[in-house]
Amino acid sequence: MVDKSLELFDCGHRACGGCGPALAARLIMKGAGANTIVVASTGCMEVFSTPYPETAWKTPWIHSLFQNAAAVASGVEASLKKQGRDEKVVAICGDGATFDIGMLCISGAFERGHDITYICYDNEAYMNTGIQRSGATPYDASTTTSPAGRNSLGNSRPKKDLPRILAAHGAPYVATASVSYPNDLMQKVERAVNTPGPCYIQIHTPCSTGWGFEGSKTIEMGKLAIQTGLWVNFEMVDGEVVKAKKVVRKPVEEYLKVQKRFRHLFRPQPNTEEIAKIQAIADKNAERYGIDIKQKPQE
């Protein structure tokens, strides 16, 4: 059972007010428990939680480089196994480190089958260095390296489907979660750390600074992503989707129009052609994961 009162990520970290990743860190540690060793990559979470000589972590925590968190976690796990110890190894990395820079080491760790849990907190761009696009940035989002303007509509590529890539490595448990559904998140982390073999969880963590919304709306933003079908909370066991959160879907505009990174789609007038493309992404998600709740026809 998850102990909700367990606090292993302390106050005093330097995240922005209303930070999604900071909330994710707290919830992950509640789910993982005290007998955990955390491995971090470079990223927002590493920078705001551990400016030397401070640290917000109350568990052993190690950071080496941007690209090698999965390799460090593999080494820690191999050493613990040799010594006959039972600590859980959890790598917590951003989407840049996971989708782009660390891909090689992650693929290696999953292929070798280390007993680690790799968690990606997905804020959909390189926020720490000033909001550059990553492989996780959604279609049409404006970032500093995919700026919207006269000749561009923002990021021209869709989001990489990493959960499926890692499930294809033979991972026994792959899940997605959102900080907006904290109980679900904690349970998924608990399940992943207690599943032998390499497990992967991708957590949607709205970033008020990078996406452009009020810090108080973090939870609301995560809920909208799920309600519009642009983010799906699902669980995959041995490569098969076994559970997905069902919703009565809202049009994607409701999620897009409240964020500065999609503002160009509504100015000067709504760009219906582009919004329809994003709606098509949501429709495809809904079909693939079967998230639509069938409503009874009104009499």
Binding site: G12, G18, L23, T55, P182
Partner: protein, 86 residues
């Protein structure tokens, strides 16, 4: 033998950094309206809300950054954000 490589810090030393000074709006908790559901305690990105012996949420203003997530999500509307005079 202890390895003397890298930088090490005592667990939870971030508490030296009192982030409450960042705050512009301060959350005020109404004891009358609160239903003690504990949602604010769970979703505070700082983790600076604790529970008193009656189960009421008590924010630690030394660390609260005033983001307003608690006020926005409170199902009983028991938290008001007010401009803080310093």
């Amino acid at each position: 033998m202890a390895l003397n490589i890298g930088c090490a810090a005592k667990p939870g030393r971030a508490r030296d950094n009192r982030t409450g000074s960042w705050r512009v709006f301060i959350p005020r908790f109404s004891r009358e309206k609160c239903s003690k559901c504990g949602l604010c305690i769970l979703i505070c990105p700082e983790g600076c809300i604790s529970e008193d012996e009656e189960g009421m949420p008590v924010p630690d203003y030394d660390y609260c950054k005033g983001c307003g997530v608690c006020a926005d999500e409170c199902p009983a509307d028991a938290i008001e954000m007010e401009l803080e005079e310093k």
